[in-house]
């Protein structure tokens, strides 16, 4: 479980969500090349600090490949391919900062912490409860799909549309049942209690959170004043 992951520093989920927004702003405002390189470099550093060394290396290698394509491959390509490839290299690179932070969130933050941070931001319960149930449901769907896929293989069901139909019907049927049972279990455990909910996880901003956010802000400013 991620909670016991002691390698590297830990960020507050709220910091990560804010960084995601900052990365978006930076990605769509900068024009100077060095800012892009700096953003990618610093995010890779952040990933490494948070213990995701492998993932950081993958992103850097991928990034260098794209830059390499732009500078060394595209000049020698025929014109039609140039348009295609430059769209690919430039725009995918624009997404890189967001993807990297996304990877960081997925790897280091349990769903529950995200929910708690949303609660701390006073997002209404009415939005949080459906969201948490949805997130709770994804792994359940995966589990069920495995069974259904097995069943289809045993019965030689072929063809994409046929398979899709066979996948959806049992899943919907079981979803209604599961939803009912899940709600019953939740209300017998007091989910409707109007009292303010408490939480045993103590989420707090630490020094690393402030540093990350300050660096983020510097990049926003830099992206807007450089050409």
């Amino acid at each position: 479980m991620n909670e016991t992951n002691s390698k590297g520093i830990r960020l507050d989920p709220r910091t990560e969500l804010l960084l995601l927004i900052i990365a978006n702003v930076v990605a769509f405002t900068y024009s100077a090349q060095w800012i892009e390189f700096a953003v990618i470099g610093i995010l890779a550093l952040l990933l490494i600090c948070c213990g995701c060394i492998k993932s950081a290396l993958k992103w850097i290698v991928f990034f260098i490949c794209l830059v390499g394509i732009q500078y060394y491959v595209i000049p020698i390509l025929p014109k039609i391919l140039v348009i295609m490839f430059s769209v690919l290299t430039v725009y995918i690179r624009k997404l890189f900062p967001c993807l990297m932070i996304g990877a960081l969130i997925l790897k280091t933050t349990p769903v529950r912490f995200l929910i708690i941070s949303l609660r701390k931001w006073h997002i209404p319960q009415k939005m949080i409860i459906p969201l948490s149930i949805t997130l709770r449901y994804f792994p359940a769907i995966k589990e069920e799909q495995r069974h259904i896929r097995d069943a289809m293989k045993l019965r030689k069901i072929r063809g994409f549309s046929r398979k899709l139909e066979c996948m959806v019907v049992p899943m919907l049927m079981s979803a209604t049942g599961t939803a009912d049972e899940l709600s019953a279990a939740a209300i017998t455990r007091g989910i409707e209690n109007p009292i303010e909910k408490t939480c045993i996880v103590d989420l707090r901003f630490h020094i690393q959170d402030y540093i990350c956010l300050i660096v983020g802000c510097i990049f926003i400013i830099a992206a807007n004043i450089t050409y």
């Binding site: 709770r136 069974h147 066979c166 049992p170 455990r189 408490t198």
Partner: protein
């Protein structure tokens, strides 16, 4: 004086009073309805609700935990009082502080993805201070010896572990009353016995327990009284002694399961010249061996039981036999000829524990059409449907059938696909005595028709009644 008034208010020393209750579910005339129910339960008592499926025992548990009338709609008259609270007039969250509920399906009663959150969930909902929650959670872990369940992804847990976690997260809320609805339905023998120990533990703390259950053997030294229900009426109340004195015959008449912890018939056959032979079969995943060196053989007309605790790879073994998963080493032979993955897939069929996963058709008939072998004629399908009492329902949607009918339909789809080997995964989980007998008979009939039957099961009573021989996966089961 105050205690006297208090007790008067609580209905004369009873913790739970169910008085003259009638109930029927919306849109359901008979199934699970209640008729003139009166039950009085003292503090610290353990009550067993027993009877056939659909007799209304689950409905009674819902009267106590408040799901009726707060969650399930229906016609309700009469009054239920729990610890001085009139259930119908008390909000669910208030009841939930006094009454803890454990349900049948381990999959659908956890709300978080990790086990630590789940243990704290109920307390967090009720706004308990974090320090106290931590204390409670630690106490729970210590009392129930569930250190191995901490910091876990719930989706990687076995059914037994999930159910233990469900029980633990209710225990953490420290309710006065525990209501359990068929808590052992999906558990193997070891987990069932663990549950029995946990119930004994809470009883020794003076908590009251109401348990609706088919499986009785793990409850025999916990219950104080047993209430026998037929068609929503209380037919008889037994003291523990009276209940344990019932003969097998009387119990079968009542549709109840055994009260003895049965050992399986120990006839592990060592000959290896059967029609289907499995030799030194091993399956590995990326990191480790799931099972190793499985050997057995079985012929047409025989029913082989496959035993093994949760997590020993029974499901993996079935998937491997059915050609859904590649073996690491070893072989599967049919009539002496080695079967490839594809060939296994062609002759094996699996009837899953949750048959809802394998019914796709719009009607019973189209379900059969969907999987029929080219050689099978319409008459043959009709014959199969008639044999399994399904012909009358041939235009019905499979999902509109009862659980037993769905299971039989799944069997028919295997038969009309021309499958020789039928593999059953826990075909009797949550079934009462009568339904178990029906499943047992069905398997025997299929064997008689020349099928090879493999059954993975935890149900010793069923095993004893049904299987000719037994193999064990992954060490001793006993």
């Amino acid at each position: 004086m105050i205690t006297y008034l208090d007790s008067l208010f609580k209905g004369g020393n009873f913790l739970i009073n169910i008085e003259q209750v009638n109930f029927s579910y919306q849109g359901e005339e008979t199934h699970g309805s209640l008729n003139q129910i009166n039950i009085h339960i003292k503090n610290g008592e353990c009550i067993l609700l027993c009877g056939k499926s659909g007799c209304g025992k689950t409905t009674i548990t819902k009267l106590i935990n408040g799901l009726i009338p707060h969650f399930n709609q229906g016609q309700l008259t009469g009054k239920t009082v729990v610890d001085g609270m009139i259930v119908a007039d008390t909000p669910m969250y208030q009841l939930s502080e006094k009454v803890g509920s454990v349900f049948q399906n381990p999959k659908s009663q956890f709300f978080n993805i990790d086990s630590d959150s789940e243990l704290a969930f109920g307390l967090e909902n009720n706004g308990i201070a974090p320090d106290i929650i931590r204390q409670q959670v630690n106490k729970t872990v210590h009392d129930l010896h569930i250190e191995n369940l901490l910091h876990r992804d719930i989706f990687t847990m076995s059914g037994g572990e999930k159910q233990t976690l469900a029980f633990a997260s209710v225990y953490a809320m420290n309710p006065e009353i525990y209501v359990l609805d068929e808590p052992s339905a999906n558990l193997d023998r070891a987990s069932t016995l663990t549950l029995g120990k946990q119930l004994k533990h809470i009883k020794s703390q003076g908590k009251s327990i109401i348990v609706a259950e088919h499986r009785l053997y793990y409850l025999t030294d916990i219950i104080d009284r047993a209430i026998f229900i037929v068609d929503g009426k209380i037919i008889k109340e037994y003291s523990r002694e009276e209940f344990l004195k019932l003969t097998d015959e009387e119990r079968h008449q009542m549709g109840l399961r055994t009260i003895y912890q049965k050992n399986p018939p120990y006839t592990i056959k060592s000959d290896i010249d059967g029609e289907l032979q499995v030799k030194n079969l091993s399956v590995k995943d990326k990191q480790h061996i799931i099972f190793d060196n499985v050997n057995f053989s079985v012929s047409s007309g025989e029913i082989l039981g496959i035993l093994g605790s949760n997590g020993t790879g029974k499901t993996t073994l079935m998937r491997c036999l059915a050609g859904l998963l590649k073996e690491h080493s070893g072989e599967v032979l049919h009539h002496g000829k080695k079967l490839s993955l594809k060939e296994r897939n062609a002759i094996c069929y699996m009837i899953m524990q949750d048959v809802n996963h394998q019914l796709f058709g719009e009607s019973v008939w189209s379900e059969c059409e969907l999987s029929r072998d080219e050689k099978i004629t319409d008459t043959e399908i009709e014959n199969s449907l008639t044999f399994f009492d399904l012909l009358d329902f041939k235009d019905k949607h499979p999902m509109a059938l009862s659980g037993g009918q769905k299971q039989r339909l799944a069997i028919v789809t295997g038969i009309v696909a021309g499958k020789k080997i039928l593999i059953f995964d826990e075909p009797t989980s949550g079934l009462d005595y009568d339904h178990m007998c029906i499943v047992s008979q069905t398997l025997k009939d299929l064997a008689k028709q020349g099928h090879i039957i493999l059954v993975v099961t935890h149900d010793m009573e069923f095993l004893e009644m049904t299987c000719n021989q037994v193999v064990q996966i992954g060490g001793n089961y006993f």
